[in-house]
């Protein structure tokens, strides 16, 4: 009996203490390092509203877009963005109720701040916007159907447990350089795939 107690005292405690060699590190799950980065594409849809003079002439429209980009680092990326939206002319004019589409193409740069599966981003860019008809010209707001545009915005991204997919919500504000005193704002949700 005494021998058994002595053996338990000697070997029991000593074995347990010998396994702890340092403080265990906190487990981060999922590990953002395991998310894909590099070339990515996005598809998006939402709404586009004109502001200023064009906002008096054109109603809120449905917008769809696509983006292809490349993550230079975990925080910085560049990309190309195209978006099309369709609108109805409004107001007390003979051509109220006519349809018009706007197509925008921009080069963009994006800054991202990531926290596990969530990230905040801000972006900006410049490019061109083209109207499908000369309706704004007929209303005296634009000389040409195609003009320069520049602006920016930001949003929130949520990465799934999948290595490749994330979704997000973004808003943007763009100035329509060749449409008199006019801008547009967009709000879209998107699905992103990083290769």
């Amino acid at each position: 009996m005494a021998a058994a107690l002595a053996t338990s005292w000697i070997f029991g405690g000593a074995t347990a203490r010998a396994q702890v060699t340092s403080e265990p590190s906190a487990v981060v799950f999922p590990d953002p390092e395991k998310f894909a980065h590099g070339l990515y594409t996005e598809g998006e849809f939402g709404g586009l509203k004109f502001l200023g003079r064009a906002g008096d002439e054109l109603g809120l429209g449905f917008a769809v877009g696509a983006r292809i980009g490349y993550d230079l680092t975990r925080f910085i990326s560049v990309g190309v963005h195209v978006m099309g939206s369709t609108h109805q002319s409004q107001g007390d004019t003979p051509i109220a109720g006519q349809l018009l589409q706007m197509y925008q193409g921009t080069l963009e740069a994006k800054l991202t701040l990531r926290w596990v599966q969530w990230s905040l981003f801000a972006e900006g860019g410049f490019g061109a916007a083209r109207m499908s008809t000369n309706l704004l010209y007929a209303r005296g707001l634009a000389r040409y159907r195609t003009g320069l545009t520049t602006g920016g915005g930001g949003g929130l991204d949520y990465h799934f447990l999948s290595r490749h997919f994330s979704v997000g919500l973004r808003g943007a504000y763009y100035v329509l350089g060749d449409v008199t005193a006019s801008q547009n704002v967009t709000t879209t949700i998107y699905l992103r795939y990083t290769f």
Partner: protein, 279 residues
Amino acid sequence: MRVGPGRFALVALAGTTALACSGLNAPLYFQGPTFEAAGGDDPLATSGLTLRFRNPTDLERMQLDDMRNAKGYDADIPWVPRDRVHVEVSYKITNLSDQYASFTLMVDGASEFAKYDTQMVATALQAGNDDPTFLPLIPIVPPKDMLPPGGTFSGIVREDDFAEGEMDLDALGRWDDASMTSPTFAGVLLNLSNVKPYTGMGLVPDYGIDPTTQQLARLHPGLLVVPAMIEIDLRLKTDVPMRCEYYVRVRDDDDRLLHNDGDTLFSPTPTLFQAPAAM
């Protein structure tokens, strides 16, 4: 990571499609000169707009000649045809008076071959001190309710209204049949040209006498290339002061409207239709 060419192609296709779609359903709008009627106007208050087209290229002229030979009837093929140039008018009428009133809007115009003027026709038809009879190419049905003081009414003269008016204009201008039983004037203005009994269409190449029924029938639909209207004239008939604002909307399928500095202006000289004087 490896990105297949299929994925790149999909993205490129999506972008290209979006840009290509910008060329579809792309009408052009032209603001017509706003005009006002004082009420009881004689002649009627009017405003017009002439669309500017480019001249055909040498190749296009050859194609028109080939088409003329293929069609087999002895008349020119229009450079601005109805099935490639689609016209519509959006208008707004404002009652400037302090009383309820109605109005009648009329649309006339010209193709590259013929011009029609309701006012001149009404003058020709007028007998003695009778009120003039207006027979426009495209009559617009007045609104059911009268316009209140300061009220407005907006409407559209649709592409199919113009299609009928353009057929009538060509029938009057190039295929005028003075037959007593089925006269082109004013038969085509009072009847739809694509429904029986095809009043006034006897000399139009699409039509002929059906050997079985011995009646006028549409024997060769689509044979005639109908010219589109390149000049649009509006007239406003009202008893009180009113204002008319309008836009002409054009869908130009083959890019024939003049917009390049290198092109020259198409300048046809349409013949004014002369109505037979009142008996």
